[in-house]
Symmetry: C2
Subunit: 429 residues, 2 copies
Amino acid sequence: MRMAASGHATQHRFERLVLMATVVQKFGGSSVATAEKIKRAARRAIAARDRGNQVVVVVSARGDTTDELIELAKEITDRPSAREMDQLLATGEQISIALMAMAIHAEGAGAISFTGHQVGMITDSVHTKARIKSVDCERIKKEFAKGNIVIVAGFQGVDANANVTTLGRGGSDTTAVALAAALKLCGSENVVCEIYTDVDGVYTADPRKVPEARKLTEISYEEMLELASLGAGVMHSRSIEFGKKYDIAIHVRSSFSEAEGTLITKEVKSMEGIVVRGAAMTRDLAKVTLRSVPDRPGAAAEIFHQIASANIVVDDIIQNISREGQTDLSFTVALADIEDVIDVANGLTKELGAGAVEIDKNISKVSIVGVGMRSHTGVAQKMFKALADAKINIQMITTSEIKISCIISRDHAEQALRAVHAAFELEKE
Amino acid sequence: MRMAASGHATQHRFERLVLMATVVQKFGGSSVATAEKIKRAARRAIAARDRGNQVVVVVSARGDTTDELIELAKEITDRPSAREMDQLLATGEQISIALMAMAIHAEGAGAISFTGHQVGMITDSVHTKARIKSVDCERIKKEFAKGNIVIVAGFQGVDANANVTTLGRGGSDTTAVALAAALKLCGSENVVCEIYTDVDGVYTADPRKVPEARKLTEISYEEMLELASLGAGVMHSRSIEFGKKYDIAIHVRSSFSEAEGTLITKEVKSMEGIVVRGAAMTRDLAKVTLRSVPDRPGAAAEIFHQIASANIVVDDIIQNISREGQTDLSFTVALADIEDVIDVANGLTKELGAGAVEIDKNISKVSIVGVGMRSHTGVAQKMFKALADAKINIQMITTSEIKISCIISRDHAEQALRAVHAAFELEKE
């Protein structure tokens, strides 16, 4: 803790000391795409510091920079090495941090930029999707002591041998939450992580599909993780996991307004009053059914081993009880992967002595998420009735403790989302 | 030392072992401006390795990258901090090294890229014009042992606190020569530094001005340093000083041909046979004469202190003997600086009680350089006669041990260069 040199009386200074918090502000690529936007973000960081906070700013690569760098690599080779790709892509964030520091300086405030290496962001050596192992908060605290805003390159780190690594999709969010967690572990109090983005928070459903969708004031980590896995989240799963693990409140808000966004925070008792926090729809899925699979140990394992080996991510799996020593096995995958799946499935049926392979490329999934489901009954029934009332046939159902998903025809996907949203009155506070 | 795995018989391997050298190849910005040029440079590095060498490749930022980064900074602020400017500009070389590594991989050879930090290029903390303090050759040698080509970002280093620094103009040349020197100090034998550029060597004069100018096979460090200070060198002074200090042969050659270029090397006895190695012309100069300066101790010091304080680099200074306690003091500066100089000079004359300030903006300088001057007489006379024969008036003369310069009117600058070139028959081997 430190106080900036000031003429305030002791009492006032003591108040500031008590109120002082540490704010990690993350600005995504679209929030730093132009000089004007960088300056706006700089002013926001300075405003947070002027309110008495210690401020860390995490930035992504500007706008299309990452795409342009990928394009440069493609001109050289179709199969760039992961290490060199990381070395290349990390420059995008390095450009952003330098420009952000310049913008803060231009407003008359102190700031210093750090690459992943300079801030001691140590990861494992898995290039393009590295995991953070440790963060050194000493250098940040030294700069806080000088009254500086600390700017850190998102998305990047270094492994134990100083090779540059990147954290994969949504990596800058992870950088921000990890820095917040590290500062908390180093003794900073009241640590908050603010994620500035081009939407102004997390909604009860995608507002482009459900116009009456409402911005949430708060959401639990668990609910946000489920929404993220449904592709509906504003943030990537790993950053939310970090927030959950270290209990860092994550405030998702707009770069372009002062309005409060959505606070992602730990589940508290009062949250259970809300049965369903939000609804989501995954549009482009395909369903694969393997008919008459011999019902013997290892059959399913073999099937999903082969699919995973082909780098295909399976969305949901459903296997009903068997009849006459055979079972029908269904699973869903992203529509984009279906041709690869067909190849694998055809090979599999021969190998296993299974029956026909049925493919349905016209599949979507509608889901509801809420921690209140744990303690409320009749939630699934209410969802099924809403779909039935809208004359939408449910093809498959999967559930988790805080989520219910229905596989339906894509023809009714948006209608189903709106019907479910209305049935649970998500538009109401 | 190591041998790549191969099926060669022991004797053959021994020969290769004896012949093995370490080659540092530096490719400037124009040599890596496009994917095609990067691939060409990659093939050249592989060819050098295939000849049995250990190869380090140093690259600059691609084509206009540095200018584009400077432009980004300008959009933010007119006065970027030097530290953040270095943080920004260093990304240009980092992009180049990653692409170069990918290009070498694409050809099936092993390579790894290193930033200044990763290769242990430690400098002082003078941002934008840092000086190299040490290089860690261990990481390079480890990669040599794996059979890899090592690619290093030119122009950049880090200070003791891991802040990114840059080496200033011509910095990538300095990186290359410094790496060569470090490897030599670490025990590598037969270390050569090759500077690939868009000219094919060092000429007896600028071939654009003197069509009959001849490419030099070799030139001494001292001669090259003089030519560099005359603005005529292909390379920046600091890299040549490094080469001289550590006795690293520097081969300046074309990226676009296989022809031998010019070897910059230590002075040997046989070089003295060549009286004049080359001629150079500095076109855009201006001459300032302070009339009737009081001839007292400290007057000149005060004058040049004030000029240096205004960040003006003085080219040559000439003071004749004094008459009646007063002297006329003349000096030349780059034409671009003359308005600043006039301001300083007018203030000075008042302060010192000197006479008028005379300005001549129509000034050029023609020079000859050669270590043979030390042991030959009549060289100056021959130069003056050449100019006299061409009816060119000499306004001022300055000399060093291996250089003679004449200040003349810009109207005759090119004519003077050609006259001197011809008089010393520099076009002949």
